[in-house]
């Protein structure tokens, strides 16, 4: 051991001063300044606050509508469809990419720039740095999401107007109700966005300057989308943090289908908390004297991937008892009820368009009889070989009306019904109204099978 004394004797100018970590608020502002000084973040903010508005306004002027996206077929009818189409698109692509760019890089950028030590010397608390970085990246992400929502709404309302919105079960929402539901839908989408952001934080902490960290949220989102395409059990589907990107549509049913939405939001928040905690634990244990920890990435990956896989198992197990449905959750009874409900609501809408005598859903007593593969396939699960015959009754008429629909039922419960006759009900894209031609609401329509809904819903107006 060497003990050397070097230097002359002198007096230190002042007494010892306690080490005081910088308050989190100040570090947070510092992190915001750094984030907002990056050209790509500025570009994203500009894009999020302008592009959806331009998109919805432009689509409203087009003859072709994005009818493969939920609410897309109503973009000519009301401005409130615009922000929902944007939300559907954002949940699939934009939000995962935004979280990748912001949260997936917020720690890695310090590794690339070699600025960790300067930051640590100044702040004196890795915990506070972590908190500030997480808060700052969340702030920017919320700003981006708010931009998407506000821009899509403003663009839709400016281009089309403030008309009632047709819900996922065909019922009409007044503009004020539509406004509240749109706002709530975007608020719910924040939960899975935060889960992706937390995965981004984890990737950024784990993988350091490696660009793989940047890709973690995007890859996780793609994996979850692929999983949603598979015929997974409902419990597993709901245990994935991205399901809230789908289940917000329950807000646009009557009555609102909140069970799936609340579970999905809760699961997303649990994932957000778990991934943030894992990132925190890894970060505060990091030794900053050795420079970047690229070499530790693989080992740390095991410590992060395994807990998250465990979390998936845990949330699946927790959700399982809450799911009355087993398997895919798509049953014949639920499909029939969903189609009949949507048909009844939309028939009433068509009646109003054609200025026929008003009818109510109760008077119509619409029912649907649905089969798969001409009765050769078990009538459950997703598929595009569903065929339904809808029957309804008009007041003062003894003979019931019937209409046929070909159905494409997706594994997440969304269904698209394509009219197959008779022509005067659902055979034409347009109907002739006294004020001119208008889109026929019964020609094609969307519906949603509640994956958690019990077969006999007590509030279902079409219940047997």
């Amino acid at each position: 051991m060497s003990v050397i004394t070097a230097g002359r004797t002198a007096v230190v100018a002042a007494g010892p001063v306690a080490a005081r970590p910088v308050p989190v608020g100040r570090v947070y502002r510092f992190e915001l300044v750094k984030l907002l000084s990056q050209w790509r973040i500025r570009l994203l903010l500009l894009a999020c606050w302008t592009a959806p508005g331009l998109f919805t306004a432009a689509v409203a002027q087009q003859g072709t509508l994005p009818s493969d996206t939920l609410f897309g077929r109503w973009m000519h009818a009301t401005g409130w469809a615009g922000p929902l189409v944007v939300l559907g698109f954002a949940g699939s692509w934009a939000l995962p990419l935004l979280t990748s760019v912001v949260a997936g890089d917020v720690f890695a950028v310090e590794d690339r720039l070699g600025t960790w030590r300067q930051l640590l010397v100044t702040v004196r608390s890795p915990r506070r740095i972590f908190a500030a970085k997480a808060l700052a990246s969340t702030t920017v992400i919320v700003l981006l999401v708010a931009g998407l929502a506000a821009s899509g709404t403003v663009g839709g309302l400016a281009a089309v107007g403030d008309q009632p919105l047709v819900g996922v079960d065909g019922h009409l929402l007044r503009p004020s109700d539509a406004a509240v539901s749109v706002l709530l839908a975007w608020a719910c989408a924040l939960a899975p966005t935060l889960a992706l952001a937390a995965l981004g934080l984890l990737g950024s902490v784990l993988l350091g300057r490696s660009p793989m960290g940047l890709l973690v949220p995007a890859l996780a989102a793609v994996a979850m989308q692929l999983a949603q395409l598979l015929p997974l059990p409902v419990a597993l589907r709901l245990a994935l943090p991205g399901y809230a990107f789908v289940s917000w549509n329950g807000l646009f049913a009557d009555p609102a289908r909140l069970d799936e939405l609340l579970i999905a939001v809760a699961v997303s928040l649990v994932w957000a908390a778990a991934a943030t905690t894992a990132a925190w634990l890894l970060f505060v244990r990091r030794d900053f004297t050795t420079g970047s920890e690229d070499g530790a990435g693989r080992r740390a990956l095991a410590f992060a991937v395994l807990p998250l896989a465990g979390l998936l198992a845990l949330t699946s197990g927790a959700v399982w008892p809450a799911t009355p449905s087993t398997g895919s959750g798509i049953t014949q009874e639920k499909v029939q009820r969903s189609v009949a409900t949507a048909f009844a609501h939309l028939y009433r809408l068509q009646t109003e368009q054609l200025h026929r005598p008003a009818v109510t859903e109760d008077q119509l007593r619409a029912t649907a009889a649905c089969q798969r593969g001409d009765g050769q396939v078990d009538p459950e699960g997703p598929g595009n070989d569903w065929r339904c015959v809808v029957t309804w009754h008009l007041p003062g008429t003894d003979a019931p009306g019937t209409a046929v629909y070909q159905l494409d039922v997706a594994s997440d419960g969304r269904l698209t019904a394509d009219g197959d006759g008779p022509k005067d009900v659902n055979g034409y894209f347009l109907v002739h109204t006294p004020t001119g031609d208008a889109p026929n609401p019964l020609w094609q329509f969307d519906g949603q099978v509640g994956l958690l809904a019990s077969p006999a819903h007590p509030l279902d107006p079409t219940k047997e």
Binding site: G114, R117, R124
Partner: protein, 310 residues
């Protein structure tokens, strides 16, 4: 010397990274108002030691006091410590001025009243204050890093290779700023691979090798050490000079017969004796110079000696 008078007091500092021992029982006591150089080959433990002083890591064993306060696992480095290791840590998307303003805000200083213009002038960066750091050379970044440290009015300044990439004018700015700080009572600890930089700037130096202190003290002691060095002599008569050198005690002739210059291995006093013997023998001495500068030779001797140890 009372312990509280020291800027740094380290005893038995040991730090390992897995199987690699970066510091092995290092002790160090640094007084205020001195510029102290840390030298050593790559992997000697310089950056690790600087990191401990900055509170970036904690030692596995040993005791460390900085500015009179113990520093350890739950005890961060106290206020008054500033500096950088492994580069100055700047944000390329911000201008030089905004980098300093953001750091000032982070420390709770009002960026408008902070001495930003003053410290930029001190390191010679006033003219590029509003340019983005993205376009800065390594030397300019080093100087801006120093400016960031000066902004805190430190009492202990820790700098890792601050002369890296500096042109002569930049080096002058940095040396002047550091000397001014030392005159004001600030302790400066800096590492460098360049012994000429250390010689120009430091009052004292610590040489580390394989995590251990090999030398610590004033530079003069290192340079005037009595170890043998190689010297080159240019004379009017190389053959005669060679004959005279063979007769002087403590001088070993290394150059071949017939060579233009005489190269000998000897201590400083022995070389003086040789020169004194050449003059009465009618040999005119045109140049006497060490083959390797004394500090560098001492450095090499100390570190190579360390590498030879088991």
């Amino acid at each position: 010397m009372r312990d509280t008078q020291l800027a740094v007091r380290a005893h038995g500092l040991t730090k390992s990274f897995d199987d690699v021992v970066a510091l092995d029982g290092v002790g160090l006591e640094l007084a205020p108002g001195r510029i102290h150089g840390l030298a050593g080959p790559n992997g000697a433990g310089k950056t690790t030691l600087l990191g401990l002083l900055l509170g970036l890591a904690v030692a596995d064993e040993g005791a460390l006091e900085v500015l009179g306060r113990p520093v350890g696992r739950a005890l961060a480095a106290p206020d008054g410590v500033a500096g950088f290791v492994d580069g100055p840590g700047l944000y390329p998307s911000l201008t030089a001025r905004k980098n300093l303003a953001a750091l000032a805000s982070l420390r709770g200083q009002d960026p408008r009243s902070a001495r930003i213009d003053e410290v930029l002038a001190e390191v010679g960066l006033s003219e590029v204050a509003d340019d983005r750091v993205r376009g800065f050379s390594l030397g300019m970044r080093q100087r801006l890093g120093l400016a960031a440290a000066l902004l805190t009015e430190p009492r202990l300044l820790v700098l890792d290779e601050p002369s890296n990439g500096l042109d002569p004018a930049g080096k002058q700015h940095v040396h002047r700023a550091l000397r001014r700080l030392a005159d004001d009572g600030v302790t400066v600890v800096l590492s460098s691979h360049r012994m000429d930089d250390l010689e120009a700037l430091c009052d004292e130096v610590t040489i580390l090798a394989a995590g251990r202190v090999r030398f610590s003290g004033p530079l003069g002691e290192l340079a005037t050490d009595s170890r043998e060095l190689e010297h080159r002599l240019r004379t009017s008569d190389p053959a005669a000079a060679r004959r005279v050198a063979a007769t002087v005690g403590g001088v070993k002739v290394l150059s071949e017969t017939g060579a233009e210059a005489l190269v000998v291995r000897a201590t400083g006093p022995a070389v003086e004796e040789l020169v004194a013997a050449l003059v009465p023998a009618g040999v005119r001495v045109r140049e006497v110079a060490p083959v390797v500068p004394p500090l560098e030779a001492a450095f090499l001797a100390l570190t190579e000696q360390q590498e030879d140890l088991p």
